[in-house]
């Protein structure tokens, strides 16, 4: 199988262990077409919400696409990190309920489903959720305080998903995966400011290029 066209160069570094390379490479794979955890309705809300929360075109090179929706949906069925807020149901259930809450509020406030809202209106609903002004007191939905807590989980999950993607690491010039190979564990020789080593990626994202441009 030929590698995807947007395969980041860091994956070919000898500063990467085989295990880490396999983990990062798995994130390049074309995602499943069917949701693994969420209902189709909740999945669609998540898909419509993510570009408003964190537009990746601000970070990635043109033509590069990361299916965050599929990754997060799959992650919700995998091993989690060992805790949750006590006022929220288990993660998979909380995400389903939160996304359906957003959809119901969209319908009640604007007469159309969340996915059909203009991006500005989607953003307004997210802002209301994050600042403790959006929620529903009914079965299978989350209340205002629950939505505010879940907003933190959503933001944390998105940050995890993005910062652990090799295409993002390449674009932002992040060398955190390149701690050392299997036969030689190189680590870093230079650790101070303005001392990028040759094997470390340079940022390509315009947003992150300020420092590199000074070299």
């Amino acid at each position: 199988m030929s590698p995807p066209p947007d395969r980041p160069e860091i994956l070919d570094s000898d500063h990467l262990s085989a295990r880490t390379r396999a983990i990062l490479t798995s994130r390049l794979s074309a995602p499943e077409t069917q949701p693994r955890t969420l209902s189709l309705q909740a999945y669609a809300v998540l898909d419509a919400l993510l570009p408003v929360l964190l537009p990746l075109d601000e970070i990635l090179p043109p033509g590069t696409y990361i299916n965050m929706t599929a990754r997060i949906d799959a992650a919700l069925s995998g091993p989690r990190d060992g805790w949750r807020f006590a006022n929220l149901p288990p993660d998979a259930e909380a995400w389903e309920a939160a996304l359906l809450t957003l959809d119901d509020v969209a319908a009640e406030q604007h007469g159309i489903r969340f996915i059909h809202l203009a991006p500005e209106l989607r953003g307004t609903l997210l802002d209301a959720m994050m600042t403790g002004q959006l929620g529903l007191d009914r079965d299978g939905r989350l209340s205002i305080p629950q939505m505010a807590r879940w907003a933190g989980d959503l933001r944390g999950e998105v940050a995890d998903c993005v910062m652990s993607d090799p295409r993002v690491q390449q674009a932002l010039g992040i060398s955190s995966s390149l701690t050392g190979g299997d036969t030689v564990f190189q680590g870093f020789t230079e650790v101070g400011p303005n001392s990028r080593e040759d094997f470390e990626p340079k940022a390509t994202a315009p947003l992150a290029q300020m420092a590199d441009s000074r070299e």
């Binding site: 805790w83 997210l126 993005v162």
Partner: protein, 515 residues
């Protein structure tokens, strides 16, 4: 473990001198000490046996080092466990700890005497110091040639190189007239042959301490105490989740029931040591209804006030590189302008990207291009963070929730709320650290309000009516039950807990050998 060592094994019907539940900072030193003195020891560890070179800097995959049995977090400051959670696997939380290894301040043992608030320890630093020095000497700790707050102290290894955050914090301290030094770090900076383990290499500055050290430079239990325990005849059993403590008609412990690969097993023992941490230790006692005549099991859960302040610089900082938290100042251990009791340590912070991104994401509500710009600032970011005293409070505790886990055991509910002292300390630190960053030109300064570590819940003291264990770690209610972990800390103190846990572990082993 050293590949030439053959581990001794015990039969389930053998009555071993001691079963220890937990193989981390609390259990491992004690296991080694008992075994070295001829006692038969079985260590039950819920997690697997990892190999150092198998660790990965990938933060998502490295969650395998966290305790993953779900915990429910409540209160007005519910703790975001994640990377701050207990560990799992042979070596416990030391597999993923940051190896920042300050000693407890002598004043923190007597906070109540000093201030009328908090709780005193039943002894002072002089009692623990010999054990602290033994721990530092055996596991390997690096530090400066002269430590400004304790010039008599010596470290066996020179510090690793200062990374960008450490250098920036030095500048910031200088700007505000604070003293600073390379902090004590539990890692070695030159290659050694560790007795009973094998080769440990010097720190390679890879920065992934929290994801597991791949060349054994970081001093954990897996490359120090546990190999020593095995060399002296202890058996380590990974993958064993202990859930039931069995007793005879007189109430003394006779054995432990645990699950391994879905099958129940029983190990008989003359003595039981709980070393499962400030959540699992009280959870075991509460589910078994044991050792709680004081009503204190699970009470007085504490953390550290661990406020962070991050800033962006016009330089390529690359916060993933180098030992993450090298620079320390202890000048805030009793600040003159404090409106709180106790004090805090400040350390520089580098950080891996997903952990950093999570902290940023959870502490702000920006979205759209502003959120993307904030994340894109990773390579320009440096942080500082504190570890500060957290007073014991009755509303902070570990109890059993109504929800059961896969074993049919109630999940723990951890309630955690800051009181006035914690908020005052947070505000003091947020203000000071922000001024420090401003003084050296940092931009986009961001305060992250967070708590770290898990402390208390089985308090140690002299009075059986208000403590779970005596000053040596022995249960007041059951004479062959001991606790050796941070659950017995009467107060949180400011220092990161791993060193004191290990020192107490050796001290409790001494007491057990004399009992």
């Amino acid at each position: 473990m050293n590949s030439t060592t053959v581990m001794k094994t015990f039969g389930e019907t053998d009555i071993v001198d001691a079963v220890i539940i937990g193989s981390g900072a609390g259990g491992a030193p004690l296991a080694a000490e008992l075994a070295r003195n001829g006692k038969t020891v079985v260590v039950l560890e819920a997690g697997p046996a990892f190999t150092a070179m198998g660790h990965t800097p990938d933060e998502i995959a490295a969650r395998e080092l966290y305790w993953l049995h779900e915990r429910l977090s409540a209160g007005t400051n519910p703790q975001a466990f994640g990377g701050n959670n207990s560990g799992t696997g042979l070596g416990g939380s030391l597999l993923h700890y940051g190896a920042f290894m300050p000693r407890m301040d002598a004043r923190d043992f007597h906070l109540h005497t000093e201030t009328g608030k908090g709780v005193d320890w039943p002894f002072g630093l002089d009692e623990l110091l010999p054990y602290i020095e033994r721990v530092e000497s055996f596991i390997g700790v690096s530090g400066p040639a002269s430590y400004p707050w304790d010039p008599t102290r010596r470290y066996a290894y020179p510090p690793p190189p200062a990374n960008s955050a450490a250098l920036k914090m030095r500048e910031a301290c200088d700007a505000l007239g604070l003293r600073h030094a390379d902090g004590p770090a539990a890692l070695i900076t030159r290659k050694i042959e560790q007795p009973h383990f094998g080769t440990r290499h010097g720190c390679a500055n890879c920065g992934a301490c929290h994801q597991g050290c791949r060349n054994s430079a970081k001093s954990g239990a897996d490359n120090t105490w546990l190999p020593m325990a095995v060399a002296h005849g202890a058996e380590l059993r990974p993958g064993c989740f202990a859930h039931t403590i069995e007793r005879d008609t007189s109430g003394r412990v006779t054995g432990v029931v645990y699950r391994q690969n879905g099958v129940e097993h029983r190990q008989k023992c003359a003595t039981l040591v709980l070393a499962a941490g400030a959540v699992e230790t009280p959870r075991l006692l509460l589910t078994n209804g044991l050792a709680n005549s004081s009503g204190q099991v699970g009470q007085n859960y504490m953390t550290h006030v661990s406020t962070q302040v991050w800033g962006e610089f016009d330089e390529d900082i690359r916060p993933n590189r180098g030992y993450p938290s090298l620079t320390i100042t202890e000048d805030m251990m009793r600040p003159k302008d404090a409106d709180f009791v106790g004090g805090y340590l400040i350390q520089s912070l580098g950080m891996m990207p997903a952990t950093w991104g999570q902290n940023l994401a959870r502490s702000t509500t920006t979205r759209g291009p502003a959120f993307a710009r904030a994340l894109a600032g990773y390579n320009r970011s440096a942080g500082m963070g504190i570890n500060g005293e957290c007073l014991p409070r009755p509303e902070n505790r570990v109890t059993l929730s109504n929800e059961k886990d896969a074993f049919g055991i109630p999940k723990p509910l951890i309630e955690h709320s800051y009181g006035p002292n914690e908020w005052a300390m947070h505000n003091h630190a947020a203000n000071l650290l922000s001024r420090m960053w401003e003084a050296i030109g940092a931009k986009d300064i961001r305060v992250i309000d967070r708590a770290a570590h898990m402390i208390g819940t089985c308090r140690m003291g002299t009075d059986a009516g208000s403590n779970v264990v005596n000053p040596k770690g022995r249960s007041f209610d059951i004479d062959n039950l001991w606790i050796s972990d941070h659950s017995i800390f009467p107060s949180a103190a400011a220092a990161n807990p791993a060193l004191a846990i290990m020192a107490l572990s050796l001290r409790t082993a001494d007491a057990m050998l004399k009992a």
